[in-house]
């Protein structure tokens, strides 16, 4: 067929030179490349001892905060559960009894509060939705690997920030 323009590139198998056909120079070149990698800095991070540097806005494991007097901030409004795109958060609300004012800040509190870490996508929408500044994603903790699926459903025992009673010593 007549070419439309003269710009078409002529393709075809190039005849290999003797050095290329002998293959040995190519092997030597390849050996050079691999031995260079032998002495290169290793990319490995020794995980349990070392951890990869994380960003300041890293979103890791959830925490339910307490206020200055050590009372739980969460009022079980359910906004986090609504906001959660993965539907990982469930809770049961309960009414605060008299005598429990030192435990819960509001009249209504979360009796159970569960986050399923296998569903959670760590998007951080729950902490954005929370009107009481109760839930946060920590930047230094992750949900570690477990053997059983139900071990990934974190209840209040593992989510609520521990009381700062250790300071008394």
């Amino acid at each position: 067929m007549e070419p439309l323009s003269n710009r078409s590139k002529k393709l075809g198998k190039k005849e290999m030179s003797f050095a290329e056909r002998a293959y040995i120079p190519a092997i030597v070149q390849g050996l050079g490349i691999t031995i260079k990698h032998f002495f290169k800095k290793k990319a490995t991070i020794q995980y349990p001892e070392q951890t990869r540097q994380r960003s300041d806005v890293w979103r890791g494991l959830h925490v339910l905060k307490r206020d200055e007097q050590g009372r739980e901030r969460c009022t079980a409004c359910g906004l986090c559960a609504v906001a959660c795109p993965a539907e990982a958060i469930t809770m049961i609300a309960g009414e605060r009894k008299t005598g429990e004012e030192h435990l819960y800040r509001e009249e209504k509190y979360a009796v159970t509060y569960e986050v399923n870490m296998l569903r959670c996508i760590f998007c951080g929408l729950c902490e954005e939705a929370c009107p009481k500044a109760a839930i946060f994603l920590q930047d230094d903790k992750i949900a570690p690997a477990r053997y059983e699926r139900d071990e990934f459903i974190y209840g209040k025992d593992r989510l609520v920030e521990p009381l700062k009673t250790t300071e008394t010593k």
Binding site: I27, I33, I35, K42
Partner: protein, 353 residues
Amino acid sequence: MESVDLIYKTIYILVIFGITLLIATYSTYAERKIAAFIQDRVGPNRAGPLGLLQPLADAGKMFFKEEFIPAQSSRTLFILGPGVAMLIACMSSAVIPFGDMLIIGGREVYLQAIEVNIGLLYVFGVVSLGVYGLMIGGWASNNKFSLLGAIRAASQNISYELAMGLSIIAVLMMTGSLSLREIAAQQAGFNWNIWYQPLGFIIFLVCAFAETNRTPFDLPECEAELVGGYHTEYSSMKLGLFLFAEYINIFVASAVMATLYFGAYNFPFMNELGALISDDPVTANNVITVIGVVVMFLKIFFFIFFFMWVRWTLPRFRFDQLMKLGWQILIPLAILNIILTGGGILLKDHFFN
């Protein structure tokens, strides 16, 4: 043979056997470590300091795995296969001179298990038997992939043995002896055969890769095409023996290469160094011999390293490429090498004698 000699030989053979096994064990560690380093990783480093106990952990794992023998397979041969592979791999290090002689109490003690005047032929005979292990194991598995792997191993070994033998003939023409001790002794100092036989060495090297079933010639155990090749059906320590035999073969091939082409236990300026160390010829000889053994093992380690280095550099050949390389390139080159060597020897006799 005197009883002292007999005892010495027994001890020496046991020591060499132990060293062979030790080196094969730590070759698995070295393989993983070198692979890791070449791929910018650090490799095994959890079991013991620097991961040095890793081979023990691997062996322990192997022993505790389920022993599986496929139905309809030939039980005897299935068990015999890895045994043969291992036995034959261990046999060939008997004739390799790991060092010159020590003089202990006026007695000349050679650091070689058996001196036979056909040492090289012995090595070749034994190494070529090695394929029986793979062939028996692969056939007895009653599995098409195993059988294909075994057939590949057999045809590949036969093809490359030819070129290997021809490349050796050129060395034999120069040395005039099949005894490995004699060949080693003729390369005293820096008078190594590699300077006279570069082409022969390259042919031998390529064939050694093919004989030990190492990449780029590891088609018998090609995972991409044959699941696991001849050891598809093997598990537990029977698989371990196959893998172990491969590493022993690498060790032996490295030792033979070092002996034939790189002067075995010889190193440059050995005689001058001996004169420098001591005036007493006995002490000088012993010191030089000990250094020579170290040098020999350094050479062997280098070649083992080279085997692994190449493994992480070259991809596997296609089977037709492998056969073409063996029959159409290496054998003609080896014959050319023989002719060139013969011509060289004639010229030397004509002009320098």
